[in-house]
Symmetry: C2
Amino acid sequence: MSTDRDAVRETACRARTAAVDLASRSRADKDAALHAMASGLEAAAPTIIAANAGDVERARDGGTSEAIIDRLRLDEKRVHAMADGLRDVAALTDPVGEVVRGYTLPNGLELRQVRVPFGVVGIIYEARPNVTADAAGLCLKSGNAVLLRGSSSARGSNEAIVAALRNALVSKGFPADSVQLVPGDSHESVKHLMRARGLVDVLIPRGGATLIRSVVEESTVPVIETGVGNCHVYVDSAADLDMAIDILLNAKTQRPSVCNAAETFLVHADIADTFVPRALAALAGAGVTVHGDERIRSYGKDHVVPATPEDWGTEYLSLDIAGAVVDSLDDACRHIRTHGSGHTDAIVTGSQQAARRFVQAVDSAAVVVNASTRFTDGGEFGFGAEIGISTQKLHARGPMGLPELTSTKYVVVGEGQIRA
Amino acid sequence: MSTDRDAVRETACRARTAAVDLASRSRADKDAALHAMASGLEAAAPTIIAANAGDVERARDGGTSEAIIDRLRLDEKRVHAMADGLRDVAALTDPVGEVVRGYTLPNGLELRQVRVPFGVVGIIYEARPNVTADAAGLCLKSGNAVLLRGSSSARGSNEAIVAALRNALVSKGFPADSVQLVPGDSHESVKHLMRARGLVDVLIPRGGATLIRSVVEESTVPVIETGVGNCHVYVDSAADLDMAIDILLNAKTQRPSVCNAAETFLVHADIADTFVPRALAALAGAGVTVHGDERIRSYGKDHVVPATPEDWGTEYLSLDIAGAVVDSLDDACRHIRTHGSGHTDAIVTGSQQAARRFVQAVDSAAVVVNASTRFTDGGEFGFGAEIGISTQKLHARGPMGLPELTSTKYVVVGEGQIRA
């Protein structure tokens, strides 16, 4: 165990050394490295796919579900998609060096707040091996060294991917240790990573609620919490009901397994008689089971089951949705504040006043008026790439792009000023 | 103990309710409340000073040092200074509602990133009761409810101050629970505060290194680490030596007890023969003891003692300074990276190239060229007020003003957009 700890801390120390080098690299150098990483992945595709086949076989032998195995599997096309992802990151603006604010103080001191890399970023993630390349690319572009801790089920794939990326980095004169896997397969090695305060600047867990909760609770390294989404669609009394049906169906069914899919709909009592029967029919037609409160259930039985108290807080990630009738916009906001996860919540309304009050009262990373919850995404928001969606309030909230992978420092330039 | 826990959590729940109200208050309302709080403190000055006399007596009976007692003591003048501090905060721009960025997406969605309050902010601090009013004012202006946990030695003073502030808030139609003391005097109650994740949005410890370390390590609530400063002054081979003497003396002696005072000076070998004897004479003249490495010690003995390895990492907060001769700018940067606390580090140089390299290589909250380290301060930086100086990289780095007491949310406005 203490060997594990030493191994993790040595890896983190090597990352810190690499980070000092990375912080001063020009955008041109970093982009050249990203292109080399992309080509390197493509050249290593046969090795990566062979290693992945081993992971898939082990997972299948271990009785892993086909859904998880599909996430784990890599083929030629997916390797090319990873490479193209790295090329997309090369095309993005470099956040490092951006002057966030700046002015001259009364005493003549020139003050600038400038974006700088964090230093060492740790990413803890689950089955998808494509995260390995994505995270490495985003961290490199933002000048950070990265410590990757994927799931042990993808160990072979991740090792092959990281080997290709490190070779490419070295070919462009970058330190290989800019990108490293955390050594060790046990939960202990994750713990040592979470305790490496001072060596690791920030940890970003990506995955299910259990993983994220355990990192948040155990880590002494600062954490950016990501991803759990219990998203709501509230249909106001002043809603365009056709629009509301379209948004509700899209938010629930366009891709049910993701964090910005809707998990609860709330309907204002004044329009329930008209809207709820149409909504139930449309949801049933799309194969969605509604977990309805008593008032929802009074409008229909097809694909409707009674909601339990747990339903209001459940992230189904499936063709299920909770539903309730509320007496007012304020009740809707209260429901969302009580049961929501602070990810994305939407109102459908034609009333400017209702929209304004909802935006004010709902305290979530994204508050949406008259559109689907599914737009909360770095790509959709125009950030070009995304390392995750933060549901915490510190540092970053909502989709995190390259600027969210940086800190700042103040640069103060004088000509001998001293304090009186 | 579980009663303690319940009491702390109930306090936090009341703060959350107050926070929902506070988030929607206009700047005009908040400024009126701040002025009422200022007048309320002045009106309650006799009560506050009487309560404080009790705290001072207990502290003296307990054998507390006169230096600490001086920090604890309140008089008419200090109460007026607290009130004026609140009026200064009223004069500052309201950060809530600021649009940090915004544009229209290709699909017509209007995207805005808007500043919003955190919600509930916890402040854990030591002897000075003026922090009680300062923190309450800054949190109110930024739309946050605040939970204050001062030291038990200042309990009576803090209770009297908070009572006056709450009365003033109520008189302006604000919830009294916008400002609360954390119940309980034991370390257990601090622990419960640190474990109130989900109820408290952020904790800011203000005080000595031990307090800050314990909060950072034990808290599951996100923490902004503040204040420990092992600040360096590096005198480059291209320095103006008169300027270097002035800056070194100012950084060390203008107010030795604060976090932005210098604790180590480094001198380039090329100018050591000229500079070090002058520096030693000037420091000795100001009553400073130099903890010098062998090369520093070769230039003089008056007020010079040998540096131990611990000296390089020590925040003296007194008329002591560590000193070393280095062979290059790179060695100076390495020394600072190894031993510094990432607070404020300064270079004195006439070389543009050296300044640029130092600014690049030193990863601290503030990097200063040709000025005293003492300028790292919210007031000096033009922020108008300061809740502390962050030495972490997440969320806020350097002096924290009102914007650093906020988070953001994305507001997305459409006309029925769904995702394809």
